[in-house]
């Protein structure tokens, strides 16, 4: 009997131990997690930002002052110490995020999340993310100074990791039950690849090939024009390009493969984009140039940005950093300021590959058989067996699609040619911008920058303003890369690159301002082929019209423009609808909604109801217009919104206006009515559920935690106006991820804010403390410390000292 009792209690004890010590499903290991001595409770605290910490390999003490926003101001004696300290301090506040993003980049999420992430991981491996990161490292190694700094940064991160124990590791590690690994230069490279993917891997080649086959060339050109009529490009239209003596690549006489593809890999968020602008001293109320930048990205917690000041005796620079990368990415020093928007150039193309046989060791090229190579991608999966995925490589790049992945033919596949695979030392651009003193330094710094192509805005205390569209850009023949190309035809390869000095740019233009909002970089007069891969068409015109509207602009004007919710898109369609739509069949409830939107002033304000109706209506109308695209087993991308509105207005009787499902033949004004009635249902349902349909409630902007927006660590129902097409591009979970305004006085005066907080710890009050101020359009004066001994507005000071 007593043995039985013993065995029973033993089994019970072991069961309880196992049950509380093991991660079961999505729940953390309960005992481990709830333990107040080591578990999550230990993260319920603000960060320690005082005292002295000794760090291996520092050459001199480094002082870190924290201001009231928890922004660290790092003062180091030399650049190696500076980047080591940047690594340490960034890890201190953002370690989990840094590692998670690089795991995401490398296709290693299955390692921590299990097989739910397997498809994602395979896709990233097949995109060649690791391949690109490896190539970038080779380039970084060619620049010993950059390499030294990147290594110093890694050592800094690792010094921080070395201070951690079970108690102090960031919360998410406890939640998912794993441990941080050492930081490496590969991880910095992967982080830069993550950004490159986010900003330069948008393309529609396979979808467009399907559309070309389905609709024919004439219809295709109507749906996807190279230029829109209202083009207000980044580089002013009157720019003289006669200095360019390189010719566009001549178009070869050859056939394109018209294959059919059912499913393609995930593309980056179509709204990834940004605004930037600068006015010259002559156009500024104070006589100093003023510059602004607001990158529009996914709204996440921890935020993609981390604000810092970095200083050595030779330079002081401040602005937004990317956790994982060195230096300031969007910011200013005592001489210059800069910021980026995405150039949205087509730098991803696809090639059809024909293999000699099933062994896939050779593929057809230039009438011969060329050898392939391969990378075995080892994908570790939490709680399951490791998966090996062999990816074949051609001279174009990885054969992403083959019979093992979204394809079915053992003897063919589609290879990706992507600028992200071509190694480059993009890190150097930012390091050089950080220490830049004038226009020439800026131009020299950005020369190294190959991908993702960016519109670099610039202003200096010397009084220059400029904007370069910088990236390594293939000199394509007209139409090259719009569709799937023939991988065996050498004429379909990228023949050369546009010489860097011929990249479109403008310095001190007559109009007194420069700006970009992801629109078309140039007009038709630029001699190289620039494919319209989804250029912005609304924000740019609002911005440029604003700067054309008066002579002088102030920082207050800049703030107002950042927060401008004027809905140009709605204003270009609704008046046409109000003229043509037959309203006789509207019910009284519908009529009320109709009256509300009819009296709208096109301001997408949080407390208005009309923008809610517009949002619902446009979404219905857009999908109804393109019902022809709702086909199974063929990947298609619908035309852009600008062209949709253009056709609704100018081609009201086009075949596309017909709804295939119905026996009647619809025209655009029928679509207006049908979609309005559908939208009314949506709005009335929302009203019934929520009591109102004010725009702030209907749009319900949220900032989501990186782990699938876990509600506990996310912020919901943030009252912010605008939509994806307004200058204040705040969409549901996407928008201005950092807002900066810099006046180039001596020293510069800057404002900044972002929808998050400096801390990556959900237990810190600095985790999301800026969100409410961001939503109402407030800014913080950035404390640009000119020397390290002042203590004004400093909350606390920490010292890093060399350890013996």
């Amino acid at each position: 009997m007593k043995y039985l009792k013993f065995i029973l209690t033993l089994v019970l004890t072991l069961t309880i131990f196992y049950g509380l010590n093991t991660k079961l499903g999505s729940a953390p290991p309960i005992g481990k997690f709830l333990d107040p001595v080591n578990g999550f409770w230990q993260n319920d605290t603000n960060e320690v930002i005082d005292g002295t910490i000794s760090i291996k390999g520092l050459s001199a003490p480094v002082t870190i002052h924290y201001d009231e926003q928890l922004i660290p101001h790092i003062f180091a004696q030399n650049e190696t110490d500076l980047y080591k300290a940047q690594g340490y301090i960034t890890a201190k506040h953002r370690l989990w995020q840094m590692e998670f993003q690089t795991h995401a980049s490398a296709g290693r999420l299955s390692e921590i999340l299990g097989d739910v992430a397997l498809d994602y991981d395979r896709q990233e491996r097949r995109r060649g993310m690791g391949f690109g990161a490896d190539n970038a490292i080779e380039k970084i190694k060619e620049h010993p100074t950059t390499l030294k700094y990147v290594e110093a940064y890694s050592e800094g991160v690792n010094s921080y990791i070395a201070t951690l124990d079970n108690k102090t590791i960031p919360l998410e590690y406890k939640l998912l039950d794993y441990k941080p690994e050492a930081w490496t230069i590969k991880k910095t490279s992967l982080l830069l690849m993550y950004m490159t993917k986010m900003l330069s891997s948008r393309e529609h080649d396979l979808e467009y090939t399907n559309a070309l086959r389905k609709f024919g060339k004439e219809r295709f050109d109507l749906l996807y024009p190279d230029f829109f009529p209202d083009n207000d490009p980044i580089i002013p239209k009157e720019t003289d390009w006669s200095f360019i003596d390189t010719k566009i690549t001549p178009t070869p006489q050859s056939e394109l493969p018209l294959d059919s593809i059912a499913e393609t890999i995930t593309k980056p968020h179509p709204d990834n984009g940004s605004n930037n602008w600068a006015v010259s001293g002559a156009k500024s109320t104070t006589g100093n140039p003023i510059l602004a930048n607001d990158p529009h990205l996914g709204l996440n917690l921890p935020s993609i940005w981390f604000v810092m000041q970095l200083s050595t005796p030779n330079h002081k620079v401040m602005g937004a950093t990317l956790p994982g990368a060195l230096g300031i990415i969007s910011g200013f020093n005592n001489h210059i300021s800069w910021g980026e928007t995405n150039a949205t150039r087509d730098v991803t193309d696809w090639y059809k590959i024909e293999f000699k046989n099933e062994s896939r060791t050779q593929y057809k090229y230039d009438g011969q058989w060329k050898n392939t190579s391969y990378r075995v991608e080892e994908i570790k999966v939490k709680g399951a067996q490791t998966i090996n995925d062999t990816v074949i490589y051609t001279h174009h790049g990885p054969v992403t699609y083959d019979h093992n992945f979204k394809g079915d033919n053992e003897k063919s596949g589609y290879a990706m040619k992507w600028i992200g695979h071509i190694g480059a030392n993009t890190q150097k651009t930012f390091l050089d911008l950080n220490t830049g003193k004038n226009y020439d330094d800026y131009v020299n710094a950005i020369k190294h920058f190959s991908a993702p192509a960016q519109n670099f805005v610039f202003a200096s205390t010397e009084g220059d303003i400029a904007l370069w569209i910088q990236g390594l850009l293939p000199n394509k023949w007209k139409g090259q890369g719009k569709f799937l190309m023939d991988g065996s035809n050498p004429e379909h390869d990228w023949q050369s690159y546009i010489p860097q000095k011929f990249n479109a740019h403008t310095k001190n233009p007559e109009r007194g301002f420069v700006s970009s909002a992801n629109q078309h970089p140039v007009d038709e007069s630029y001699p190289f082929y620039v494919f319209n891969d989804g250029y912005g068409t609304y924000r740019n015109r609002v911005i440029n019209d604003f700067f054309r509207s008066k002579d002088k602009f102030s920082v207050e004007d800049f703030k107002a423009l950042h927060n401008n919710n004027y809905n140009l898109k709605a204003s270009e369609l609704l008046p046409h609808i109000f003229k043509t739509m037959d309203v006789s069949s509207l019910t009284s409830e519908e009529q009320e909604l109709y009256n509300q939107i009819k009296s709208w002033d096109f301001d997408s304000d949080i407390n208005a109801v009309a923008p809610s109706i517009w949002l619902a209506w446009w979404s219905e109308l857009y999908s109804l217009t393109w019902d022809e695209y709702d086909v199974k087993d063929v990947a298609l991308d619908k035309p852009f919104e600008y062209q949709t509105i253009h056709m609704l207005k100018h081609n009201p009787n086009d075949d596309f206006m017909d709804i295939l499902e119905t026996p009647e033949r619809e025209t655009s004004k029928d679509l207006f009515l049908i979609s309005f009635k559908e939208a009314s249902k949506t709005i009335l349902k929302f009203k019934a559920d929520h009591g109102n349909y004010l725009y702030k409630d209907y749009k319900a902007t949220f900032v989501g935690h990186l782990l699938k927006a876990l509600p506990a660590f996310s912020r919901f129902n943030i009252p912010i106006g605008g939509d994806r097409n307004t200058v204040n591009a705040a969409d549901k979970n996407h928008g201005p991820s950092w807002r900066m305004i810099v006046e180039m006085s001596t020293p510069p005066k800057a404002l900044g804010i972002y929808p998050g907080g400096q801390s990556g710890n959900p237990g810190s009050t600095y985790y999301d403390n800026m969100i409410d101020d961001w939503a109402v359009g407030k800014y913080y004066e950035l404390l640009f410390m000119q020397n390290e001994t002042t203590t004004d507005k400093i909350m606390s000071t920490q010292t890093l000292t060399p350890s013996k």
Partner: protein, 118 residues
């Protein structure tokens, strides 16, 4: 309270206070086991005395930490689990989880002590 119960209670708390400084969460199980091995109790007290000791220890510990930080993270974890965002429920559950683990380990300790005695 009987004297033996009180002794076991105090010993459990003392043990866990020391052990938890260098052992992971299962220090509560070790504490429950050891105190029961040497300060044997009877019937339901075998489970409930260490249960209560750890419940109080973990709950108090958790409360002191999170109270100092305005319950910032506790409120969020109480949404994650989900407990309606109530940090006090989370504190209580934390105590109960620790208590159950300790109580069951104590039951094993009691059985071991019986095996050794005869």
């Amino acid at each position: 309270m009987r004297k033996s119960n009180l002794i076991n209670f105090i010993v459990t708390i003392l043990l866990v206070a020391i052990l938890s400084q260098f052992l992971p969460w299962w220090s509560v199980m070790v504490a429950g086991f050891v105190s029961s091995l040497f300060f044997s109790l009877k019937k339901v007290a075998v489970f409930f005395v260490p249960f209560l000791a750890i419940l109080i220890f973990w709950s108090m510990y958790a409360f002191i930490i999170t109270n100092a930080n305005d319950f910032t993270l506790a409120k969020k974890i109480a949404i994650l689990f989900p407990l309606g965002g109530n940090p006090y429920v989370l504190i209580l559950i934390t105590g109960i989880i620790g208590g159950v683990a300790a109580g069951i380990a104590a039951m094993l300790g009691k059985q071991c002590s019986l095996l050794v005695k005869r």
